[in-house]
């Protein structure tokens, strides 16, 4: 029997879903949808009577105080519970798509002694009578996503929801013989392998030496292992590059720039080296306190999020959490971060390329994904950023990061010969096939229909129980190595773990969500929430007991052999056999060509009308504060639990006025005072014109954020996330080389080693316009830099919140006329000028001085100058503290170069809005002024303002700017500044 139970709110006022549906529908379809109602449905299949279903509904599915329900069998008519609402629009997860609510319901039903064969959840909107086609179209626009849902309008009529079919073992040989490059390329495309003809030739030669053709499962294993996602083949290529500093050759770009910087720094540190495990495990590990190390990783999940924002972001976060869990002998996740780069929120629908999700819907989807996954995992989401730029319309970027903590001496692990291969966590299904290779292929307007299988929905509670299980097993030292099942699924996880030893795997032993997966599908499925452990046979029994206690499925599916061969079996028969050396070292190396020329800059022009009033900078200030990049992301931040685990100290919104923190701080261990500081930096607006300075500026910003929070500048670990457009052109690759060079230079200069990283290339969106001409939209070259800092004592962290009136405001660092890529430029206040340059010598000294002043207790508040420059920094400090301030632009330390001749209001605009890197605005009490000045002597600095209770002329606290000519240029009431800063509708 197949039953449907529909549950709805008794009170229309409680039906939130109907309100958001009505609002979204009204924006698209002119009909009146305001009366619509929603119901949550459950399809329950099994040998169950109507009375059984009543018991399930009343015992599990409804809230007796606020909800009511109806039951129908599939033979009953579909009656509307709402008078006048006759059109039913049902949205169901597609068969095979993870349905956490249904899984929970099924589990709960067993508590009542009833065990249905299958359960599926659905949601229904009841609307006024409307044409079915129109209703369906609307459903696809506002309710459903083609990648994961089905939509049914009218009566729901299904025979069965129990899926699965039988699969019997068969071997498919794939001949690569007789194919030229074009033929090989075609084969790669047809099978979604993302292998180049040269790589396929290497595969062909290898199998010729064995005297046979590869089997499908072997070819797939090679494709996963050699994917851009898994082995970063572009970044690790040889490159002949010609840049502004002349020609240079790299045998391995990443190794000789980013990795090399870390090696150099570790060499300088010698015995004081605090790196533990870098660029080898799933995350980078550094020393923390006497008995702990910390680790950090940031991943991108761009392609899946572009197609299904909610599922893409959630599984992105789920994946990076598992990276931390799968580091060393397992680390406990203690903080998450997320950064999104999307199109401008007000992009008109007509300007969107076909198949692209509008930026607002996309942003709210990815936020909801991170929220629902991160909050359920009980990991505070404490840091992040959102950047808006038209280049991200087709390829939004979704970065998710996690910090973990682990006991010392548990970072270095190796599986041992004879260890069992154990897969733990979620079951394997057909979901997420080809994620690793799909992420290496360009998105197009058809991607949504082509790549459904690679998009998934997360099941956070499975990952939470998996985490509880792994951490307990780690405590008891029951496994010798662990890794997560991410891109490439078991093929990558087991393949990497057994890269030296080899392994034998019984694929038929892998627990499945439903029957019918082929051996290849089992092997490469990227089904979520799974980890692979290497377990000594002697520990197996104990490990299995912990799994049972934590309600986690853990199954031994094979063993690490030590013979260097990866053998795949199905019911005892050999399904595939690969030489580990060929698999991991057999990929042909290639040398690419890169080229970068620095574009010429134009002289700086300022467009700010001087209306003759004493308030000419008021509108620019308010407009800057309201720009999407600058404005408060409170609408997003508050949806994340940033306080769970009880260790959060400095939170993303800080001070009485909920201003923006630069970095955020959590204690490493409950009850201990040493803290972890997280900060990010992103200078994507420079990406297209100056990739070197984009990367350098981003790194400096990330470090400045944590230093402004009190982090010790000699203990900062960095992460790189390269997101690029086309890297197949010489110029595209050249911009990537320039960014790598910047990473190397800045890391060494600041003695801040990179410890891990990730790249996502080919973020190019392709479509055809109405005339049928091919179009392309590429993201700007984007490096996200993440800084992981440490504070000795969380009682001494710094925040940007002004503490009181009567303090001095000092500006540290030199202001230049470097407005290219600035928010002022975006607002049209300026045009041209210089590209912001990073002067690492001065910057290193500035960071050291800030830290020295902080340690000496000389800073009441401190804020890093970033988007919008001094004027927004001053306003943000005032908003955070609820205290006004006055800035004297005439006193700002500056070197305006060729713009030195600017006077009056134009000069004021430059000084107030330039985004020159590594500058800090510091609140210093009168009594500490002398001591502070001696600490910062030698670094460009000046007292250029003060904090004040009220502006006597306005009668309220204000953010006041005094111009270079001595007169007032702006006195914006604090409340008005705060309102502008809070005006962005996001999340």
């Amino acid at each position: 029997m197949l039953w449907e139970v529909d549950v709805w709110q008794k009170d229309r006022g409680d039906d939130h879903a109907s309100r958001s549906f009505a609002a979204a529908a009204a924006a698209i379809d002119p009909a009146d949808w305001s009366a619509a109602r929603t119901a949550r449905g459950w399809l329950i299949e099994g040998e169950l009577s109507r009375d059984d279903i009543v018991r399930l509904a009343e015992g599990v599915l409804i809230d007796p105080v606020s909800q009511t329900y109806a039951i129908r069998s599939m033979d009953d008519p579909q009656e509307s519970p709402f008078p006048g609402l006759t059109t039913a629009v049902h949205v169901l997860p597609r068969p095979g798509v993870t349905d956490p609510a249904a899984e929970t319901a099924r589990q709960a039903f067993t508590l009542l002694g009833l065990t249905p064969q299958a359960v599926r959840s659905l949601s229904t909107v009841w609307a006024p009578a409307v044409d079915a086609t129109r209703a369906e179209q609307l459903a696809w626009r506002v309710l459903a996503s083609d990648a994961i849902h089905e939509v049914v309008v009218g009566r729901l009529q299904l025979d069965s929801i129990a899926g699965g079919r039988n699969w019997s073992f068969s071997q498919e040989s794939i001949s690569l013989e007789g194919l030229d490059d074009a033929g090989l390329a075609q084969l790669s495309r047809d099978r979604c392998l993302a292998l180049t003809p040269a790589e396929l030739v290497a595969v062909r030669n290898h199998f010729r030496s064995l005297g046979r053709d590869p089997w499908e499962i072997e070819l797939e294993t090679i494709a996963q292992t050699w994917s851009e996602h898994c082995c970063h083949k572009t970044l690790t290529s040889g490159v002949d590059h010609t840049g502004p500093h002349g020609p240079v050759h790299y045998d391995n770009l990443l190794k000789e720039t980013v990795f090399a910087a870390t090696q150099t720094i570790r060499g300088h540190l010698g015995a004081a080296d605090w790196c533990v495990s870098v660029f080898r495990d799933n995350s980078g590990v550094v020393r923390f306190d006497g008995d702990h190390d910390i680790c950090v990783k940031v991943e991108t999940h761009n392609h899946p999020s572009a197609i299904e924002p909610y599922g893409g972001a959630a599984t992105g976060l789920g994946g990076v959490i598992r990276d931390v869990l799968g580091t060393g002998r397992a680390a406990k996740p203690i903080a998450n971060l997320d950064v999104f780069c999307v199109g401008p929120p007000d992009t008109p629908a007509a300007e969107l390329p076909p198949g692209v999700i509008e930026p607002k819907r996309l942003l709210s989807g990815v936020v909801a994904g991170v929220r629902d996954y991160g909050n359920r995992m009980g990991i505070p989401t404490i840091a992040g950023a959102v950047a808006f730029e038209p280049g991200y319309l087709g390829n939004p970027l979704v970065f998710c990061g996690t910090v973990g903590i682990m006991p010392r001496h548990s970072a270095e692990t190796e599986p041992q010969p004879g260890d069992l291969v154990v897969v733990a966590g979620g079951r394997t299904g057909r979901d997420g096939i080809h994620g690793a290779t799909f992420s290496s292929i360009e998105l197009s307007s058809d991607s949504e229909t082509e790549s459904g299988g690679s998009v998934q929905i997360g099941h956070a509670i499975n990952e939470k129980t998996l985490t509880d299980f792994v951490l307990e097993a780690a405590k008891q030292r029951l496994f010798s190595a662990i890794t997560d099942c991410g891109a490439g699924g078991l093929s990558s996880a087991v393949g990497e773990m057994g890269a030296k030893l080899g392994a034998e795997v019984d694929l038929d032993q892998v627990p499945l969500k439903y029957d019918g997966l082929s051996a290849t599908e089992v092997w490469i499925s990227e089904a979520q929430e799974r980890m692979v452990l290497a377990v000594p046979p002697a520990c197996w029994e104990k490990l299995a007991a912990i799994a049972a206690e934590e309600q986690v499925e853990a199954i031994a599916i094979g063993r690490f052999t030590g013979n260097g061969s990866l053998v795949l079996k199905w019911e005892g028969k050999t399904a595939g056999e690969l030489d580990c050396r060929f698999l991991h070292d057999g990929r042909p190396e290639n040398t690419l060509i890169g080229r970068w020329e620095t574009p010429a800059t134009a002289p700086l022009v300022v467009h700010c009308p001087d209306d003759g009033s004493d308030n000419a900078l008021a509108k620019p200030m308010v407009d800057l504060l309201a720009l999407p990049d600058v404005a408060s992301k409170e609408g997003i931040i508050r949806q994340y639990d940033h306080e769970v685990q009880g260790c959060s100290v400095l939170k993303p919104l800080t001070g009485r006025g909920d201003g923006p923190a630069d970095g955020t701080v959590v204690r490493g261990v409950l009850g201990r005072d040493r803290g972890v500081v997280l900060g990010v930096g992103l200078r994507h607006r420079l990406g297209r014109v100056a990739p070197y300075q984009m990367a350098a500026g981003g790194i400096v910003e990330a470090v400045a954020n944590v230093v402004a929070t009190g982090a010790d500048p000699s203990r900062i670990a960095l992460l790189d996330n390269f997101c690029w457009g086309d890297t197949r052109s010489e110029e595209g690759l050249g911009s990537l080389v320039e960014a790598c060079r910047a990473c190397q230079d800045v890391a060494i200069a600041l003695s801040a080693p990179f410890v891990s990283g990730k790249d996502s290339l080919n973020n190019v969106f392709a479509w055809k316009n109405e005339a049928g001409e091919p179009q392309e939209l590429s993201i700007p070259p984007t490096l996200l830099a993440t800084a992981l800092g440490q504070v000795e004592n969380v009682n001494n962290v710094l925040s940007p919140a002004i503490r009181g009136a009567g303090s001095r405001l000092y500006l540290l660092g030199l202001t230049r006329a470097d407005l290219v890529g600035s928010q002022a430029e975006l607002l049209g206040l300026t045009e041209g000028g210089e590209v912001p340059q990073v002067d690492t010598d001065v910057i290193r000294q500035t960071f050291a001085a800030i830290h020295a002043a902080a340690k000496a207790g000389l800073l009441r508040a401190c804020h890093d100058l970033s988007d919008g420059g001094l004027i927004t920094a001053a306003a943000e400090m005032a908003i955070a503290g609820g205290v006004g301030c006055r800035i004297r632009l005439a006193d700002v330390p500056c070197d305006l170069g060729s713009a030195a001749g600017l006077t009056g209001l134009s000069r004021d605009v430059v000084l107030a809005t330039a985004e020159s890197p590594a500058r800090f605005l510091c609140e210093v009490s009168e009594e500490h002024a002398v001591a502070f000045e001696s600490v910062v002597a030698g670094i460009p600095h000046a007292c250029c303002g003060e904090t004040c209770e009220l502006d006597p002329r306005v009668g309220k606290p204000t953010v006041t700017m005094m111009g270079v000519d001595g007169g007032q240029r702006a006195a914006v009431p604090l409340a008005a500044a705060a309102a502008a800063w809070r005006s962005l509708d996001c999340g």
Partner: protein, 255 residues
């Protein structure tokens, strides 16, 4: 004298168990985190404890409704044991998800013939919200809130809107002094109610005063520097947060 013992219940998806256990320890108790499966198999474990706490989280994912499955398990396996626990002077505390669970059991605002007298529905915003709120305690026999007066704590939930079965129920609960914790006003005089709760209810106790459910998280305010206005200032150094008092009250009451 022996320290009181606190049992911190956990289930798949519980995620505030460590810091809640830590809070009770800071307050002088000995805390143990116990899995629902272990307790369901051996309800007599409760005899070793004086305090039973269901901490925050998303038990079983809260996919059907908050706290639904864990409450079903408590009703199925532990109803009698928990009532006995309360009747012999034990204290029961439900924080956030724990409050959502308690309201679906016989331990809090429950009429034997009718069932639950109130529920925690979706926030008016329809969204999860993490923010600090101003709270006021009402004079009551609730042992946890003794002497707390006005205080600030963070909330972090998607379903925290207190909603009673009927206006009469609400009046009766008010009259019996069970609506013990209320959202207060913000400093600017605006309502500080973050979720649309009836009568600004943030927490309720049972008739004995020994069972308390509340949405705010006292375990997240053990140190002054956890307050967003105080982190980064010198005022916070070395001071306790107000949330700790709730746990010390409980420990004192059973010592």
């Amino acid at each position: 004298m022996l320290s009181p013992r606190a049992l911190i219940l956990r289930a798949p998806g519980t995620n505030c168990d460590h810091e809640t256990a830590f809070a009770f320890e800071r307050a002088g108790a000995i805390s143990r985190r116990v899995h629902i499966q272990a307790l369901a198999e051996r309800p007599a474990l409760l005899d070793e404890y004086q305090i039973f706490c269901i901490p925050g989280g998303f038990s079983y994912g809260d996919d059907i409704a908050s706290g639904r499955i864990l409450a079903l398990q408590l009703r199925t396996f532990l109803s009698d044991a928990l009532e006995r626990f309360r009747d012999r002077g034990g204290l029961i505390l439900g924080i956030c998800n724990g409050f959502q669970v308690l309201l679906q059991t016989s331990l809090l605002l429950h009429e034997p013939t009718i069932g639950p007298q109130a529920t925690l529905a979706a926030n008016t915003s329809g969204r999860f919200i993490d923010r600090w709120v101003h709270l006021e305690t009402r004079p009551s026999r609730c042992v946890f809130l003794d002497g707390l007066g006005k205080l600030e704590l963070p909330v972090a939930h998607a379903e925290g809107r207190f909603r009673s079965r009927s206006p009469e129920t609400l009046t009766a609960l008010e009259a019996s002094g069970q609506l013990v914790l209320r959202y207060g006003l913000n400093p600017d005089g605006s309502s500080g109610n973050p979720n649309g709760s009836e009568a600004d209810v943030a927490g309720v106790c049972d008739e004995t005063g020994r069972v308390l459910g509340l949405m705010p998280h006292p375990e997240r305010f053990l140190d002054a520097l956890q307050h967003p206005a105080l982190a980064g200032s010198t005022e916070a150094r070395g001071r306790n947060g107000v949330g700790l008092a709730l746990f010390t009250n409980a420990v004192r009451a059973v010592s």
